[in-house]
Symmetry: C2
Subunit: 720 residues, 2 copies
């Protein structure tokens, strides 16, 4: 409905004017940098091609999704996911193209676990016979599967799962049974409302060969189970399954609970999946409790359809050992790589809006001209610009992580397992640190945007709510840092045994040098020249991590301290080590690059320095204690960080532009490429908000809520 | 519908068993501590009395509120707020009792601004004639008012507001007009859908007495304006007003946008409110730009009904000067005081659930018995127990803040303004620090709870979403720290002028001592004995803050550095000062207490130490630089913190019990008093979740979403 507001414009200088000026003042070539960051695997090209196809579908409009109830929002998620799958058929999209479409639509797909866990587990772990039966059904989505491992009472400690799968040798059936409430499966995505099948992990109970009436537990084991009727979509008899309810995020995901009551299924129809997926899911804990590794041997010999099961208790090497380490490391290294784009999204919004937003004039200035862009205040810069630098740091780390993963996997397939432990440690430490940097970074950006950062126009609410899951999933960020520490302590122990020999690898050499220097105290008093040498910055991070690794080694190995009593220290060690990796990787990437133009190279070096010195300042005392940096240099950090921010500031808008996050994905009034912040905020409020179509009765003495409805408050009460 | 899950119980030891053991192992008297904390103003007694009244009203059931859409949730908020107001009449509740009911229901009332800002502003600032007209209408809720100051383009900088109020001397009307889109009022609570009146702040444009055709702006000025028709509840002609849409939180608040198009109103009917409320809303900026203070004088002489307005341009002292400082300080000191209960809520959930939740056994232990309570892991303790200590720290700080406020106000009413600046600085710094501690603390607790912390059963989603507004409202947490720094620099400047005279107050004496010590370098080399003396802990915090204040003074006053270039340093100074206040206040409260029993006193001293030493460890380098603490002592902090946590650990459950947060308010499966965590999580999922009443069609090749509905996807599309 037209009204006088249609003709109003924002005050000057408006957003487009401001952003145009921002873009003029930087000599960075956005296209070149964007290409450098995102073109290598065709990402940019796919994004440009898929985006218009997605945007023209009314179902993918994001205008109203914040206004829906949980059930409506879930329906929308299902409708979109089904449409995307149909479009994949229609457009003959590759899986990468399909993933791009999902990325742009930005819903967590309710079919995600079917695609990522169910199909993958069968493809990678099932026998040939099993694959021949299951893969056509799953790939065509004729059946929808989920992965049901976690229980109400047990997450990380897979060995503690309570669900039982008892083998009834008389009827040749497995009997799934939940002996307690805490045995209920829980959190299992795609299963709450959608899946009709699931890989179910349960304690395998088999009759003792000596006394067949006594059942012995052989640890958790995965089974493929049908859980819902294919026609009615109702749970099968003996199964209770449903969605666990609202969460912080993942509103379009039907995370499930599921219980079994003496539920029998015949192996003839549903041969169970015998490769022990659960083992690599729980590697974190096995690797620090090595005496359990004998359980690797619990694999059943070729359990083909209907055959009686025989067991071997001796250690049998899994057929595809790479998978055991591979899957968990794969998931974590992907999270490391993806963190950069999530953070880039928040930083894009924060940088653009903080340029457009103006507040006050310089109190020491001449008070002429418009108010200052808030991004010119150091107190805004210190929150946003280190995060802008972090997006680049995460980028190179993500690439390096993927390379390490790829190389290690190739080695493993050749039977060489030397790089496994390193890869596992690196992916654990980086998953922990990078997801924290991104999660906290989103919220820091939001707060830096003042009042409007609290509004839906920020575009950050859903991505924030969804991403809040990352610090705790796929290995809790605090728990998995033990992997890094255990690895480093082992390396230090080895180094201490023969400090005077040549290093077997980079870390070993560094550790040995540290130990040799320790012997002749005084000779290692020289600290690094972090204010004048980028290489010395890298070395200072390495020395701090090495010194902390030595401390941990001393406590655990020399002084035999209780492991749990060291956990906080070990967590700090992991952070130091992971920061060191990020800083070194960033440095190497810039040092080795031969393609970037000088202006870009120059500002990326400043980003490197800002990331490193800002991180250093936050942990000054650790650098001081480890004698990596002098007190004088640490004292100078704050002012150096401020100088670096002043140098990066003119390029800030173009540095975020280079991440090429489309407006459709951002869905943000504050972060629009064109800077029409206020027009968009107003449009969302005045034209799109359904609450404004309801006239309320404000009189408290009347029950009526919606004016003229005649409904005396019963309407809303009926929904409670 | 009954099914086999009705008979299932959680595995042993279950929550009730565990919490009973937790409570047995501590000798703390919960009732005594709860009384000490909350009984002084009758809070506990009111809570006990109002709670059952609230709980028996079906409209206050919280079971389904997470499942509602924004419009439905807003309707529920209005229905509840109206019912609460009726109950106030029925039960003849005092305002404190009414507030207790609101606190328990835990919705942000959509009438909040009517009650807190509209009525209060009229009561405190309007003339007697105005009050006589408006107060009866507002108190009876015959009219509903809001407070419309902030605009789309201007928040903190009130002087930059764009809405114009031009005086038409011919028609004796004011003409409100929004010249731009950014002039739209924005964020104004209770106005989007409910209010029919508002106090509207606009630039007052008056004819120049010399040339009456030229209008001169006299700065922002508040007016009482009717905005909606009293019968139809539609906006009056020339007004566009509505709700701004979904936000992170505040789902039951109709934050508004509002624009005027040459809207005329007659002063006869709606005398405008002439005392300059806007001035103290903007005090933050005025106090650092003192040359604007002449604008205090812009008050209109007795603008009674219909009378022609005359102006005086000379400075006129506001009639009630206490109010000018009072209101902002009042709001901020209330936020300081309330932070403890918000944080206590999150910590209550985290402590109880982390006791009940078990995961793994001690890897160095004998592996017998149940898995460990996760609260026994130092990595869980380090996230939760310092926050538990923080709730107590915030408590005593909140009390101290209120006392300072009360005393200052009494002084002011006697014409003594000496304590004003101190009070303003203290409330600004503490508002910033305490709301950050609580906001970040909620999220830290959530993450410490692993997977279930991401679920709706945490009970933290709404309180988290609502509380996220606190770091930016009522003075952005980064911006207002300038007030603290400006105050301390002024104090240091005064101290430096005569360092050898006696101190005028405690701060002055401390500053002078610092300057005297600085003169004879070397004599002040002694650091404080923080590991053995609680008083020395307090002094080390004071020395660190004093040293940072001196640095700031040196930069700004001696070296004439640009103010903006110092903002980051000034922010750190404010944090150091505010931490020092919290630590000193906590110390004083325990030192002076004569009533607490020995076991409680003892654990509270440990909480004091934990809060202080944990805070110190996070900023070790600042304590080192300022020579407040030796490197050896700083090195020992981590282990001391861990010892303190081990001492507090057995009392953790009783320490949260003592906050007496009722289960109804917590609305948390994880945080229930009785520990029935898993039963409650399951109940919410299996019996309360409406999504489980919908059967979905998972076949992607079919448009139908709800199975058997025959709706080919059009239903959900129509809502976009």
């Amino acid at each position: 409905m037209p009204d006088f507001t249609d003709n109003l414009r924002p005050s000057q200088p408006d957003g487009p004017t401001t952003l145009a000026r921002e873009r003029r003042q930087s000599n960075i070539a956005t296209e070149e940098l964007g290409h450098h960051l995102l073109a290598s695997d065709g990402f940019l090209e796919r994004q440009a091609r898929i985006l218009p196809i997605i945007q023209q579908e009314p179902l993918f409009s994001k205008d109203q999704q914040q206004n829906l109830s949980r059930p409506e929002r879930f329906k929308l998620g299902v409708a979109r996911a089904k449409l995307l799958r149909r479009m994949r058929d229609t457009h003959r999209w590759s899986y990468l193209e399909y993933q791009m479409a999902e990325y742009l639509v930005d819903d967590v797909s309710p079919y995600f676990l079917h695609m990522e866990m169910f199909i993958t587990t069968i493809r990678e772990q099932a026998s040939d016979e099993q694959q021949a039966y299951w893969l056509p059904l799953t790939k065509s989505w004729k059946i929808i599967g989920a992965y049901a491992q976690t229980e109400l009472g047990h997450g990380s400690n897979v060995r503690g799962l309570e669900l039982e799968a008892r083998w009834d040798s008389r009827t040749k059936e497995f009997v799934l049974h939940s002996p307690t409430l805490t045995a209920s499966k829980w959190w299992n995505g795609s299963l709450g409302r959608l899946a009709n099948h699931a890989i179910v992990v349960a304690q395998l109970l088999l009759p003792d060969p000596g006394s067949p009436d006594i059942y012995v537990s052989h640890g958790p084991h995965p089974f493929i189970v049908q859980v819902r009727d294919m026609k009615t979509h109702q749970p099968l008899n003996g199964i209770v399954v449903g969605d666990i309810g609202p969460k912080y995020g993942y509103i379009t995901m039907d995370n499930a609970y599921m219980l079994f009551d003496q539920f029998r299924f015949v192996t003839r129809l549903y041969p169970y999946c015998h490769v022990t997926h659960y083992i690599y899911r729980s590697l974190d804990y096995l690797s620090i409790t090595p005496r359990y590794s004998g359980l690797f041997g619990l694999v059943c010999n070729s359990p083909v359809q209907g055959q009686v099961i025989t067991l071997t208790r001796i250690y049998t090497k899994p057929e595809k050992p790479a998978l055991i380490y591979g899957s968990l490391t794969y998931v974590r290294s992907n999270m490391v790589h993806r963190a950069r784009l999530v953070l880039a999204r928040a930083v894009t919004v924060a940088v653009r809006y903080s340029s457009v937003r103006r507040q006050f004039q310089d109190r020491d200035g001449d008070k002429k001209g418009p108010e200052m862009s808030v991004l010119d205040y150091p107190t805004v810069q210190i929150r946003i610009l280190p995060l802008l630098a972090t997006t680049y740091a995460l980028h190179y780390t993500g690439l390096a992580m993927q390379t390490v993963y790829k190389n290690a996997r190739q080695d493993i397939e050749k039977g060489n397992f030397n790089s496994l432990a390193h890869m596992h440690s690196m992916s654990s430490g980086l998953k922990s640190l990078c997801t924290i940097l991104a999660t906290d970074g989103i919220e820091t950006c939001r707060r830096a945007m003042g009042g409007h950062g609290f509004g839906g126009g920020s575009g950050l609410i859903q991505v924030n709510n969804d991403y809040l899951s990352k610090p705790t999933v796929e290995g809790d960020n605090w728990m998995i840092t033990q992997q890094v520490a255990a690895y480093l302590i082992k390396k230090m122990t080895a180094a201490a045994e023969s400090p005077d020999t040549a290093g077997a690898d980079e870390t070993d050499a560094r550790f040995k040098e540290f130990i040799r220097n320790k012997r002749c105290l005084g000779s290692e008093k020289r600290t690094y020249d972090i204010l004048n040498s980028d290489l010395d910055v890298v070395k200072s991070f390495e020395l701090r991590a090495t010194a902390m690794a030595y401390d941990a080694y001393e406590q655990r190995v020399m002084k035999k301290q209780n492991w749990n009593s060291l956990l906080i220290q070990l967590h700090k060690l992991s952070r130091a080590q992971s920061e060191s990796i990020i800083v070194a990787t960033f440095f190497d990437a810039l040092s080795n690059d031969k393609t970037l133009s000088t202006p870009i190279k120059s500002v990326l070096w400043d980003c490197f320095r800002l990331f490193a010195l800002y991180s250093m300042e936050n942990e000054s005392f650790e650098f001081f204690r480890s004698n990596a940096v002098s007190q004088a240099d640490l004292n100078a950090l704050a002012s150096r960080v401020q100088d670096l921010m002043a140098r990066i500031r003119p390029h800030a808008v173009k540095l975020v532009d280079s991440w090429m996050v489309p407006d459709y994905l951002l869905d943000s009034a504050l972060g629009r490429y064109d800077g029409r912040v206020y027009e968009d905020l107003f449009n969302r409020a005045h034209r799109l908000n359904p609450l404004n179509r309801i006239t309320f009765n404000p009189n408290y003495w009347e029950d009526e809520i919606v004016k003229g409805s005649g409904d005396n408050g019963g309407g809303i009460l009926s929904k409670l």
